[in-house]
């Protein structure tokens, strides 16, 4: 079993926590990732900063800018991942970001870098299945999970294409929109998860707009995982290098809610 498949327990939903790497600086990210784990996150999504984060709302846009302004390079991000893997041999780590920073040195280079850094999977926002050959083949060849996104606009005709060659888990983006703004209605999430699970054995994690422990618990009732990003990033924006205890406390509140949900 891979680290990713072990991260979804059978008796409760997993908590997937996102932060942007290098925010507020590359030196601070390690302690923030540790706080996510200590707070109870099951899977870590480490955002690769990009100058043009087109699918992100104001909170994560600002995090990308803070990270790049602090001088974060791709090499720093990979170092953060490598060090995390040494400290946390069993916690799955996923890189999330945009196509250009991932493919600029070639897809094979990136796949090798993921393997060397102990990265378990990759979520690329702007490579849909139609362009899968620009990255997916290289990742699969190195057993790095290609984590696919499904959205409210993904219809029944497309879904099989998305599920084919998907691995790790399926990320259901519950809102047609950018990160961090609104949350979908519980009924629509439940309907979507049921539909997705009928087509795949992969765990389904649901994200976009999740902020409160109550929302996380609601999603935990119906899905295999709950993804939280902007709300954590906002805590980092507020506390900067002093964020870890605040991040840990907040993540713990989410984790507790998820653990008592079922």
């Amino acid at each position: 079993m891979t680290r990713l498949s072990k991260a979804f327990p059978s008796d409760r939903a997993a908590l997937v926590a996102f932060v942007t790497g290098g925010d507020p600086s590359a030196a601070d990210t390690g302690a923030i990732l540790d706080a996510l784990v200590e707070g109870g996150a099951d899977i870590i999504e480490l955002g690769m900063p990009f100058t043009d984060p087109m699918a992100d709302g104001p909170a994560i846009q600002a995090a990308n800018i803070r990270s790049l302004n602090a001088g974060t390079k791709t090499a720093d991000l990979l170092n953060i991942a490598t060090a995390f893997r040494q400290r946390h041999p069993t916690v799955p780590l996923v890189l999330m970001g945009y196509a250009n920073p991932m493919t600029i040195r070639g897809a094979d280079w990136f796949a090798d870098a993921c393997v060397d850094a102990g990265v378990d999977g990759v979520i690329c926002v702007d490579i849909p299945v139609e362009e899968d050959d620009s990255l997916g083949d290289s990742l699969r060849a190195k057993d790095v999970a290609v984590i696919r996104l499904a959205t409210p606009t993904t219809d029944a005709a497309r879904l099989p294409d998305i599920l084919k060659n998907a691995s790790g888990f399926l990320y259901y983006v519950s809102v047609a929109g950018i990160t961090g703004l609104q949350q979908a209605a519980q009924a629509s999430i439940q309907e979507a998860v049921t539909r997705l699970k009928a087509g795949t054995d992969l765990p389904v994690a649901v994200g976009f707009g999740v902020r409160t422990p109550e929302q996380a618990a609601d999603i935990a009732h119906v899905a295999d995982g709950v993804v939280v990003g902007s709300a954590i990033v906002e805590i980092i924006a507020e506390h900067g290098a002093g964020a870890p205890p605040h991040v840990k406390a907040y993540v713990k509140s989410l984790s507790d809610a998820i653990r008592s949900a079922r």
Binding site: T51, D52, M54, I65, N100
Partner: protein, 427 residues
């Protein structure tokens, strides 16, 4: 290699013959929207079904004579097409004075600055709003740099009674005040974009963010031949009216094709619109002009000259970027050229060698701007001023009996404040 002394047709003979096997230079993109390694559909999954739907509707529109009829009718009676083809006699004379004996090509202009709203941008907007109507969309969004595409979009929205939201960089709002006011008069809502450098690239990001959140009712009128497939192809097709007219006008006026075509390139829509209908005419040389800003060794907007292939705004193309793939800020005195990328078909045409690309600095463009004012009584936009500078540079190397045709794709009313400031004049 590029040999100045060989006639163009000879230089390209081998390549053109080879490509005859794969038909032509005019059959791009493939069915995935790829121009060779460029183009494609690099968008978030949320947008993907929408883009496939857009393509389906565009194919249906292409097959529908009523669509072409309405497009042509609006271009004739609303936009004012065909635009004139004009022999710039005094500019030609001026250039010949500085040319060696027997040199100094005849300079002609395709006068798309005479279109309604003052630039070529309206050609594309007419096409896209007709498509939006066909798809039953009820809200229009667009990004704009110089404000010309914003004005053209606001114009067609007023004409068809649809609400219009324009994303415009805060810096561009400052330097293109006349167009901002025009858009407001036309009823558009203008959203200032402050992320990044507050220019065209950032406006495009916010346009995509709006779109992804409003996929059901909103049509995004992209203003240049870039973005995810089918936009580069669609915008090219709508803008190709420029080249089709120019080709017919040349043949009927002087019975032959021009020797060289020149156009300025921001995203590349006016250039591809002029070039595309001529791509399979092996004797017609083509020159695309990027903005060299402060100079190619300083800040500029010449993605082909100073960039490398990467992925941004839905397509793979040449981009100004660092070694990590972070996008650099572009600079040009011309807001319409101030973009760190270029449409994917130009990247392909560069790599195939069919079109040559060069660049012109802010200073050279300003000189050309003034030159056209004084020799021809035409105030050009700063964007085509880049093409005019290149025309003067090329014409002196060409024989007197040769013809160089440039796209005068916009008029300069919007730029007079920028030019006054650059010249140190108060108005």
């Amino acid at each position: 290699m590029w040999t100045e002394s060989l006639p163009f047709a000879k230089r390209f003979a081998h390549m053109i013959k080879q490509d005859k096997l794969s038909n032509s230079f005019r059959n791009q993109p493939d069915d995935r929207g790829h121009f060779g390694q460029f183009g494609g559909r690099y968008v978030a999954e949320t947008l993907m079904p929408l883009i496939l739907d857009l393509e389906k509707h565009y194919r249906a529109a292409q097959a529908d004579p009523a669509f072409a009829e309405e497009f042509d009718d609006l271009l004739e009676h609303y936009v004012g097409r065909p635009s004139p083809l004009y022999f710039a006699e005094r500019l030609t004379d001026h250039v010949r004075k500085e040319a060696p004996e027997g040199k100094g090509a005849q300079i002609w202009f395709k006068r798309d600055e005479l279109n309604h709203t003052g630039a070529h941008k309206i050609n594309n907007c007419i096409g896209q709003i007709l498509l939006a109507k066909r798809m039953g969309k009820t809200r229009i969004i667009a990004e704009t740099g110089a404000g010309q595409h914003g004005v053209a979009t606001a114009t067609v929205c007023a004409r068809f009674g649809l609400p219009c939201v324009i994303y415009m960089g805060a810096k561009d709002i400052e330097r293109q005040q006349p167009n901002v006011f025009r858009m407001k008069l036309l009823g558009a809502e203008i959203v200032p974009v402050t992320s990044g450098a507050g220019t065209l690239k950032d406006a495009m990001n916010d346009g995509m963010r709006d779109w992804v959140a409003n996929v059901e009712d909103t049509f995004y009128i992209i203003g240049t031949a870039a973005g995810p497939h089918p936009y580069p192809e669609m915008v090219r097709d709508f803008q190709s009216v420029i080249g089709k007219e120019a080709r017919e006008q040349m043949l009927s006026r002087i019975g032959r094709l021009p020797d060289m075509l020149v156009a300025a390139i921001g995203g590349g829509s006016n250039a591809i619109g002029l070039f595309h209908p001529f791509l399979d005419d092996p004797d017609v040389e083509m020159l695309g002009i990027e903005a060299a800003g402060h100079g190619l060794d300083k800040q500029h907007a010449a993605s082909l000259a100073g960039g490398k292939p990467g992925i941004l705004h839905g397509n793979k193309t040449y981009l100004l970027q660092d070694e990590d793939g972070q996008i650099d800020e572009a600079h040009s005195i011309s807001a319409g050229l101030d973009y760190p990328g270029i449409g994917p078909e130009h990247s392909w045409l560069k790599e195939s060698g069919r079109v040559r690309y060069d660049s012109v600095t802010d200073t050279e463009a300003l000189e050309a701007f003034q030159l056209l004012c004084s020799t021809e009584g035409i105030i050009p936009a700063l964007e085509p001023s880049h093409a005019i500078a290149a025309v003067a540079r090329e014409a002196v190397k060409m024989n007197k009996d040769q013809i160089i045709l440039a796209n005068l794709c916009g008029r300069g009313d919007k730029d007079i404040f920028t030019v006054a400031e650059a010249l140190g004049t108060e108005i």
